[in-house]
Symmetry: C2
Subunit: 187 residues, 2 copies
Amino acid sequence: MKERIIDVAQALVQSRGFNAFSYRDLADRILIRTASIHYYFPKKDDLARALIERYRSDFEGAIQDIDCTARSPQDRLSAYLKMFLELSKGGSRLCLFAVFSAELPSLSETVQEEIKIFYEKNIQWIGDVIDDGRRAGLFSFPGGSRDVASAIFSFLEGEMLVQRVFPSKEPFPEVPDAIRILLSWGP
Amino acid sequence: MKERIIDVAQALVQSRGFNAFSYRDLADRILIRTASIHYYFPKKDDLARALIERYRSDFEGAIQDIDCTARSPQDRLSAYLKMFLELSKGGSRLCLFAVFSAELPSLSETVQEEIKIFYEKNIQWIGDVIDDGRRAGLFSFPGGSRDVASAIFSFLEGEMLVQRVFPSKEPFPEVPDAIRILLSWGP
DNA sequence: GTCTATAAGATGATAGAC
DNA sequence: GTCTATCATCTTATAGAC
Protein backbone atom coordinates (compact mmCIF):
# COMPACT_ATOMS: atom_id res chain seq x y z
CA MET A 1 0.00 0.00 0.00
CA LYS A 2 2.73 2.42 0.97
CA GLU A 3 4.37 1.85 -2.40
CA ARG A 4 1.11 2.39 -4.19
CA ILE A 5 0.57 5.72 -2.52
CA ILE A 6 4.07 6.77 -3.49
CA ASP A 7 3.44 5.66 -7.07
CA VAL A 8 0.36 7.80 -7.42
CA ALA A 9 1.82 10.72 -5.53
CA GLN A 10 4.93 10.70 -7.69
CA ALA A 11 2.88 10.79 -10.86
CA LEU A 12 0.95 13.76 -9.50
CA VAL A 13 4.04 15.65 -8.43
CA GLN A 14 5.73 15.04 -11.75
CA SER A 15 2.78 16.38 -13.65
CA ARG A 16 1.39 19.19 -11.49
CA GLY A 17 3.87 19.92 -8.72
CA PHE A 18 3.91 19.13 -5.03
CA ASN A 19 1.64 21.97 -3.97
CA ALA A 20 -1.01 21.29 -6.58
CA PHE A 21 -2.31 17.98 -5.32
CA SER A 22 -4.04 17.00 -2.10
CA TYR A 23 -4.54 13.90 -0.01
CA ARG A 24 -7.99 13.84 -1.50
CA ASP A 25 -6.58 13.60 -5.03
CA LEU A 26 -4.57 10.63 -3.90
CA ALA A 27 -7.50 9.05 -2.07
CA ASP A 28 -9.77 9.37 -5.09
CA ARG A 29 -7.28 7.67 -7.35
CA ILE A 30 -6.32 4.89 -4.95
CA LEU A 31 -9.90 4.31 -3.81
CA ILE A 32 -9.08 4.73 -0.18
CA ARG A 33 -9.85 7.42 2.42
CA THR A 34 -7.58 10.33 3.19
CA ALA A 35 -7.30 9.15 6.80
CA SER A 36 -5.68 5.95 5.57
CA ILE A 37 -3.03 7.94 3.75
CA HIS A 38 -2.36 9.89 6.91
CA TYR A 39 -1.78 6.54 8.60
CA TYR A 40 1.23 5.94 6.35
CA PHE A 41 2.30 9.54 5.94
CA PRO A 42 1.07 11.61 8.89
CA LYS A 43 2.21 14.91 7.40
CA LYS A 44 2.51 15.83 3.77
CA ASP A 45 6.18 16.49 4.38
CA ASP A 46 6.58 12.81 5.32
CA LEU A 47 5.20 11.97 1.92
CA ALA A 48 7.62 14.36 0.24
CA ARG A 49 10.54 12.71 1.98
CA ALA A 50 9.36 9.22 1.07
CA LEU A 51 8.95 10.33 -2.53
CA ILE A 52 12.46 11.67 -2.63
CA GLU A 53 13.96 8.70 -0.87
CA ARG A 54 12.54 6.20 -3.31
CA TYR A 55 13.31 8.26 -6.38
CA ARG A 56 16.84 8.78 -5.20
CA SER A 57 17.41 5.14 -4.33
CA ASP A 58 16.02 4.12 -7.73
CA PHE A 59 18.47 6.49 -9.30
CA GLU A 60 21.40 5.34 -7.25
CA GLY A 61 20.57 1.71 -7.90
CA ALA A 62 20.48 2.35 -11.62
CA ILE A 63 23.78 4.21 -11.45
CA GLN A 64 25.38 1.35 -9.57
CA ASP A 65 24.12 -1.09 -12.16
CA ILE A 66 25.76 0.99 -14.81
CA ASP A 67 29.03 1.18 -12.90
CA CYS A 68 29.08 -2.57 -12.22
CA THR A 69 28.72 -3.57 -15.82
CA ALA A 70 31.74 -1.29 -16.27
CA ARG A 71 31.56 -0.41 -19.91
CA SER A 72 33.11 2.48 -21.80
CA PRO A 73 32.49 6.08 -20.72
CA GLN A 74 30.33 6.48 -23.78
CA ASP A 75 28.18 3.49 -22.93
CA ARG A 76 27.92 4.58 -19.33
CA LEU A 77 26.79 8.04 -20.30
CA SER A 78 24.34 6.63 -22.84
CA ALA A 79 22.90 4.30 -20.24
CA TYR A 80 22.59 7.17 -17.80
CA LEU A 81 20.71 9.33 -20.25
CA LYS A 82 18.41 6.49 -21.16
CA MET A 83 17.64 5.84 -17.51
CA PHE A 84 17.13 9.51 -16.85
CA LEU A 85 14.59 9.79 -19.60
CA GLU A 86 12.87 6.58 -18.65
CA LEU A 87 12.21 7.71 -15.09
CA SER A 88 10.65 10.82 -16.52
CA LYS A 89 8.41 8.93 -18.91
CA GLY A 90 9.52 10.90 -21.94
CA GLY A 91 8.53 14.37 -20.83
CA SER A 92 4.92 13.78 -19.83
CA ARG A 93 6.43 13.51 -16.41
CA LEU A 94 9.11 15.91 -15.33
CA CYS A 95 12.13 14.83 -13.35
CA LEU A 96 10.89 14.81 -9.77
CA PHE A 97 13.72 17.09 -8.79
CA ALA A 98 13.06 19.63 -11.50
CA VAL A 99 9.60 20.07 -10.01
CA PHE A 100 10.91 20.26 -6.48
CA SER A 101 13.51 22.82 -7.49
CA ALA A 102 10.85 24.98 -9.04
CA GLU A 103 8.96 24.95 -5.74
CA LEU A 104 12.04 24.83 -3.52
CA PRO A 105 11.37 27.68 -1.10
CA SER A 106 7.95 26.23 -0.28
CA LEU A 107 9.45 22.93 0.88
CA SER A 108 10.87 21.93 4.24
CA GLU A 109 14.54 22.27 5.10
CA THR A 110 14.99 18.50 5.14
CA VAL A 111 13.53 18.12 1.68
CA GLN A 112 15.66 20.96 0.35
CA GLU A 113 18.73 19.25 1.71
CA GLU A 114 17.80 15.95 0.05
CA ILE A 115 17.34 17.68 -3.26
CA LYS A 116 20.77 19.18 -2.98
CA ILE A 117 22.28 15.75 -2.34
CA PHE A 118 20.56 14.35 -5.41
CA TYR A 119 21.90 17.08 -7.65
CA GLU A 120 25.35 16.72 -6.17
CA LYS A 121 25.43 12.95 -6.70
CA ASN A 122 24.37 13.26 -10.30
CA ILE A 123 26.78 16.00 -11.24
CA GLN A 124 29.59 14.21 -9.45
CA TRP A 125 28.91 10.99 -11.31
CA ILE A 126 28.61 12.60 -14.72
CA GLY A 127 31.83 14.48 -13.97
CA ASP A 128 33.67 11.26 -13.19
CA VAL A 129 32.45 9.59 -16.35
CA ILE A 130 33.37 12.39 -18.71
CA ASP A 131 36.69 12.77 -16.96
CA ASP A 132 37.39 9.10 -17.63
CA GLY A 133 36.32 9.65 -21.21
CA ARG A 134 38.61 12.59 -21.64
CA ARG A 135 41.60 10.74 -20.22
CA ALA A 136 40.85 7.89 -22.62
CA GLY A 137 40.80 10.39 -25.49
CA LEU A 138 37.14 9.73 -26.23
CA PHE A 139 35.82 13.13 -25.21
CA SER A 140 37.31 16.55 -25.55
CA PHE A 141 36.23 19.69 -23.75
CA PRO A 142 37.95 22.72 -22.24
CA GLY A 143 37.91 23.47 -18.52
CA GLY A 144 36.95 21.37 -15.53
CA SER A 145 34.89 18.21 -15.89
CA ARG A 146 32.59 19.35 -13.10
CA ASP A 147 31.54 22.45 -14.99
CA VAL A 148 30.74 20.48 -18.10
CA ALA A 149 28.95 17.84 -16.04
CA SER A 150 26.88 20.57 -14.42
CA ALA A 151 26.07 21.98 -17.84
CA ILE A 152 24.96 18.56 -19.07
CA PHE A 153 22.74 18.10 -16.06
CA SER A 154 21.26 21.59 -16.44
CA PHE A 155 20.57 20.88 -20.07
CA LEU A 156 18.77 17.65 -19.24
CA GLU A 157 16.59 19.23 -16.58
CA GLY A 158 15.78 22.18 -18.82
CA GLU A 159 15.14 19.99 -21.84
CA MET A 160 12.33 18.31 -19.94
CA LEU A 161 10.64 21.61 -19.34
CA VAL A 162 10.86 22.47 -23.02
CA GLN A 163 9.72 19.04 -24.12
CA ARG A 164 6.68 19.35 -21.91
CA VAL A 165 5.69 22.52 -23.71
CA PHE A 166 6.34 21.01 -27.14
CA PRO A 167 5.14 17.43 -26.87
CA SER A 168 5.06 17.29 -30.64
CA LYS A 169 8.84 17.67 -30.75
CA GLU A 170 10.58 14.46 -31.72
CA PRO A 171 11.43 12.35 -28.71
CA PHE A 172 14.83 12.76 -27.13
CA PRO A 173 17.47 10.93 -29.13
CA GLU A 174 19.43 8.48 -27.03
CA VAL A 175 22.30 10.95 -26.83
CA PRO A 176 21.20 14.52 -27.49
CA ASP A 177 23.27 16.40 -30.01
CA ALA A 178 23.97 19.16 -27.50
CA ILE A 179 25.83 16.69 -25.33
CA ARG A 180 27.75 15.28 -28.27
CA ILE A 181 28.86 18.77 -29.11
CA LEU A 182 29.77 19.63 -25.52
CA LEU A 183 31.97 16.56 -25.36
CA SER A 184 33.23 16.67 -28.95
CA TRP A 185 31.80 13.20 -29.09
CA GLY A 186 32.09 12.10 -32.69
CA PRO A 187 29.58 9.71 -34.23
CA MET B 1 -2.03 49.22 -7.95
CA LYS B 2 -2.48 46.64 -10.67
CA GLU B 3 1.23 46.75 -11.37
CA ARG B 4 2.05 46.42 -7.72
CA ILE B 5 -0.05 43.30 -7.39
CA ILE B 6 1.67 41.83 -10.41
CA ASP B 7 5.07 42.70 -8.94
CA VAL B 8 4.38 40.88 -5.71
CA ALA B 9 2.64 37.97 -7.40
CA GLN B 10 5.51 37.49 -9.82
CA ALA B 11 8.02 37.37 -6.99
CA LEU B 12 5.91 34.73 -5.25
CA VAL B 13 5.48 32.63 -8.38
CA GLN B 14 9.17 32.79 -9.17
CA SER B 15 10.11 31.62 -5.72
CA ARG B 16 7.37 29.15 -4.76
CA GLY B 17 5.28 28.39 -7.79
CA PHE B 18 1.82 29.47 -8.86
CA ASN B 19 -0.07 26.98 -6.75
CA ALA B 20 1.82 27.72 -3.57
CA PHE B 21 0.61 31.23 -2.91
CA SER B 22 -2.82 32.62 -2.21
CA TYR B 23 -4.63 35.91 -2.53
CA ARG B 24 -4.07 36.21 1.18
CA ASP B 25 -0.30 36.02 0.76
CA LEU B 26 -0.56 38.86 -1.71
CA ALA B 27 -2.91 40.86 0.49
CA ASP B 28 -0.63 40.55 3.52
CA ARG B 29 2.37 41.79 1.58
CA ILE B 30 0.60 44.64 -0.19
CA LEU B 31 -1.35 45.67 2.91
CA ILE B 32 -4.67 45.45 1.17
CA ARG B 33 -7.66 43.07 1.44
CA THR B 34 -8.11 40.02 -0.74
CA ALA B 35 -11.37 41.46 -2.06
CA SER B 36 -9.43 44.37 -3.53
CA ILE B 37 -7.22 42.00 -5.42
CA HIS B 38 -10.28 40.26 -6.77
CA TYR B 39 -11.39 43.67 -8.02
CA TYR B 40 -8.40 43.75 -10.35
CA PHE B 41 -8.10 40.03 -11.01
CA PRO B 42 -11.48 38.35 -10.43
CA LYS B 43 -10.11 34.82 -10.88
CA LYS B 44 -6.64 33.58 -10.14
CA ASP B 45 -6.36 32.62 -13.78
CA ASP B 46 -6.77 36.29 -14.69
CA LEU B 47 -3.77 37.01 -12.53
CA ALA B 48 -1.79 34.24 -14.22
CA ARG B 49 -2.55 35.71 -17.63
CA ALA B 50 -1.59 39.21 -16.52
CA LEU B 51 1.65 37.87 -15.09
CA ILE B 52 2.50 36.17 -18.33
CA GLU B 53 1.50 39.09 -20.47
CA ARG B 54 3.75 41.53 -18.67
CA TYR B 55 6.68 39.16 -18.43
CA ARG B 56 6.40 38.36 -22.10
CA SER B 57 6.09 41.99 -23.15
CA ASP B 58 9.11 42.88 -21.01
CA PHE B 59 11.02 40.14 -22.76
CA GLU B 60 9.91 41.15 -26.22
CA GLY B 61 10.70 44.76 -25.52
CA ALA B 62 14.18 43.84 -24.42
CA ILE B 63 14.67 41.67 -27.48
CA GLN B 64 13.56 44.49 -29.75
CA ASP B 65 15.99 46.84 -28.05
CA ILE B 66 18.75 44.36 -28.77
CA ASP B 67 17.70 43.98 -32.38
CA CYS B 68 17.45 47.75 -32.94
CA THR B 69 20.94 48.48 -31.74
CA ALA B 70 21.90 45.88 -34.34
CA ARG B 71 25.27 44.73 -33.10
CA SER B 72 27.17 41.56 -33.90
CA PRO B 73 25.57 38.13 -33.30
CA GLN B 74 27.95 37.71 -30.37
CA ASP B 75 26.89 40.96 -28.77
CA ARG B 76 23.24 40.22 -29.38
CA LEU B 77 23.53 36.82 -27.74
CA SER B 78 25.48 38.27 -24.83
CA ALA B 79 22.87 40.94 -24.32
CA TYR B 80 20.13 38.33 -24.42
CA LEU B 81 21.79 36.20 -21.79
CA LYS B 82 22.37 39.19 -19.58
CA MET B 83 18.73 40.21 -19.86
CA PHE B 84 17.58 36.68 -19.24
CA LEU B 85 19.53 36.46 -16.04
CA GLU B 86 18.52 39.90 -14.89
CA LEU B 87 14.82 39.16 -15.11
CA SER B 88 15.45 36.11 -12.98
CA LYS B 89 17.35 38.04 -10.35
CA GLY B 90 20.35 35.75 -10.44
CA GLY B 91 18.70 32.48 -9.53
CA SER B 92 16.87 33.52 -6.37
CA ARG B 93 13.99 33.88 -8.74
CA LEU B 94 13.41 31.30 -11.40
CA CYS B 95 12.38 32.22 -14.91
CA LEU B 96 8.64 32.66 -14.66
CA PHE B 97 8.16 30.18 -17.45
CA ALA B 98 10.33 27.51 -15.91
CA VAL B 99 7.97 27.55 -12.94
CA PHE B 100 4.89 27.52 -15.12
CA SER B 101 6.27 24.63 -17.15
CA ALA B 102 6.85 22.64 -14.01
CA GLU B 103 3.20 23.12 -13.08
CA LEU B 104 1.88 23.11 -16.64
CA PRO B 105 -0.93 20.53 -16.41
CA SER B 106 -2.43 22.40 -13.44
CA LEU B 107 -2.82 25.61 -15.45
CA SER B 108 -5.59 26.71 -17.80
CA GLU B 109 -5.51 26.06 -21.53
CA THR B 110 -5.05 29.75 -22.27
CA VAL B 111 -2.06 30.01 -19.99
CA GLN B 112 -0.52 26.87 -21.46
CA GLU B 113 -0.87 28.37 -24.91
CA GLU B 114 0.82 31.60 -23.83
CA ILE B 115 3.73 29.67 -22.37
CA LYS B 116 4.17 27.84 -25.63
CA ILE B 117 4.30 31.12 -27.52
CA PHE B 118 6.96 32.46 -25.16
CA TYR B 119 9.17 29.43 -25.65
CA GLU B 120 8.66 29.55 -29.38
CA LYS B 121 9.57 33.22 -29.62
CA ASN B 122 12.74 32.73 -27.62
CA ILE B 123 13.96 29.69 -29.47
CA GLN B 124 13.15 31.31 -32.79
CA TRP B 125 15.11 34.43 -31.90
CA ILE B 126 18.14 32.57 -30.60
CA GLY B 127 18.05 30.43 -33.74
CA ASP B 128 18.09 33.48 -35.97
CA VAL B 129 21.00 35.02 -34.10
CA ILE B 130 23.20 31.95 -34.15
CA ASP B 131 22.32 31.37 -37.77
CA ASP B 132 23.53 34.87 -38.58
CA GLY B 133 26.64 34.14 -36.56
CA ARG B 134 27.32 30.95 -38.42
CA ARG B 135 26.91 32.59 -41.81
CA ALA B 136 29.33 35.27 -40.69
CA GLY B 137 31.80 32.59 -39.68
CA LEU B 138 31.68 33.57 -36.02
CA PHE B 139 29.99 30.42 -34.74
CA SER B 140 30.32 26.84 -35.81
CA PHE B 141 27.98 23.98 -35.00
CA PRO B 142 26.62 20.93 -36.80
CA GLY B 143 22.96 20.51 -37.66
CA GLY B 144 20.08 22.93 -37.68
CA SER B 145 20.25 26.23 -35.85
CA ARG B 146 16.87 25.61 -34.30
CA ASP B 147 18.09 22.48 -32.55
CA VAL B 148 21.09 24.27 -31.11
CA ALA B 149 18.93 27.24 -30.14
CA SER B 150 16.56 24.88 -28.37
CA ALA B 151 19.50 23.29 -26.55
CA ILE B 152 20.76 26.69 -25.44
CA PHE B 153 17.35 27.63 -24.15
CA SER B 154 16.97 24.31 -22.34
CA PHE B 155 20.36 24.79 -20.77
CA LEU B 156 19.44 28.25 -19.52
CA GLU B 157 16.17 27.12 -18.00
CA GLY B 158 17.80 24.11 -16.38
CA GLU B 159 20.76 26.11 -15.15
CA MET B 160 18.40 28.22 -13.09
CA LEU B 161 17.04 25.16 -11.36
CA VAL B 162 20.55 24.00 -10.53
CA GLN B 163 21.66 27.44 -9.43
CA ARG B 164 18.74 27.63 -7.05
CA VAL B 165 19.88 24.45 -5.38
CA PHE B 166 23.50 25.59 -5.23
CA PRO B 167 23.32 29.27 -4.44
CA SER B 168 26.93 29.12 -3.38
CA LYS B 169 27.96 28.36 -6.96
CA GLU B 170 29.65 31.26 -8.64
CA PRO B 171 27.22 33.50 -10.44
CA PHE B 172 26.52 32.89 -14.07
CA PRO B 173 29.34 34.25 -16.24
CA GLU B 174 28.07 36.62 -18.88
CA VAL B 175 28.35 33.88 -21.48
CA PRO B 176 28.32 30.40 -19.97
CA ASP B 177 31.06 28.11 -21.15
CA ALA B 178 28.54 25.51 -22.25
CA ILE B 179 27.19 27.94 -24.81
CA ARG B 180 30.67 28.88 -25.99
CA ILE B 181 31.37 25.22 -26.57
CA LEU B 182 28.06 24.57 -28.31
CA LEU B 183 28.79 27.39 -30.73
CA SER B 184 32.56 26.85 -30.99
CA TRP B 185 32.71 30.43 -29.87
CA GLY B 186 36.38 31.16 -29.29
CA PRO B 187 37.52 33.65 -26.66
C1' DG C 1 -11.45 51.43 -5.34
C1' DT C 2 -11.31 49.63 -0.99
C1' DC C 3 -13.52 47.82 2.66
C1' DT C 4 -16.46 44.25 5.80
C1' DA C 5 -18.79 40.23 5.81
C1' DT C 6 -19.57 35.99 4.35
C1' DA C 7 -20.22 31.87 1.58
C1' DA C 8 -18.92 27.25 -0.24
C1' DG C 9 -15.64 24.24 -0.66
C1' DA C 10 -10.96 22.38 -0.13
C1' DT C 11 -7.11 21.05 2.80
C1' DG C 12 -4.09 18.98 6.20
C1' DA C 13 -4.79 16.68 10.12
C1' DT C 14 -6.71 13.90 14.32
C1' DA C 15 -9.78 10.89 17.38
C1' DG C 16 -11.81 6.88 17.88
C1' DA C 17 -14.88 2.83 16.20
C1' DC C 18 -14.37 -1.52 13.75
C1' DG D 1 -5.18 -0.92 8.59
C1' DT D 2 -9.11 1.16 7.17
C1' DC D 3 -13.01 3.46 8.12
C1' DT D 4 -16.44 7.51 9.73
C1' DA D 5 -16.67 11.72 11.72
C1' DT D 6 -14.99 15.89 12.69
C1' DC D 7 -11.76 19.99 13.16
C1' DA D 8 -9.64 24.34 12.37
C1' DT D 9 -7.92 26.65 8.92
C1' DC D 10 -7.22 28.28 4.35
C1' DT D 11 -8.74 29.42 -0.29
C1' DT D 12 -11.17 31.35 -3.98
C1' DA D 13 -14.76 34.11 -4.75
C1' DT D 14 -18.97 37.27 -4.30
C1' DA D 15 -22.31 40.83 -2.40
C1' DG D 16 -22.88 45.07 -0.85
C1' DA D 17 -21.66 49.21 2.26
C1' DC D 18 -18.69 53.33 2.23
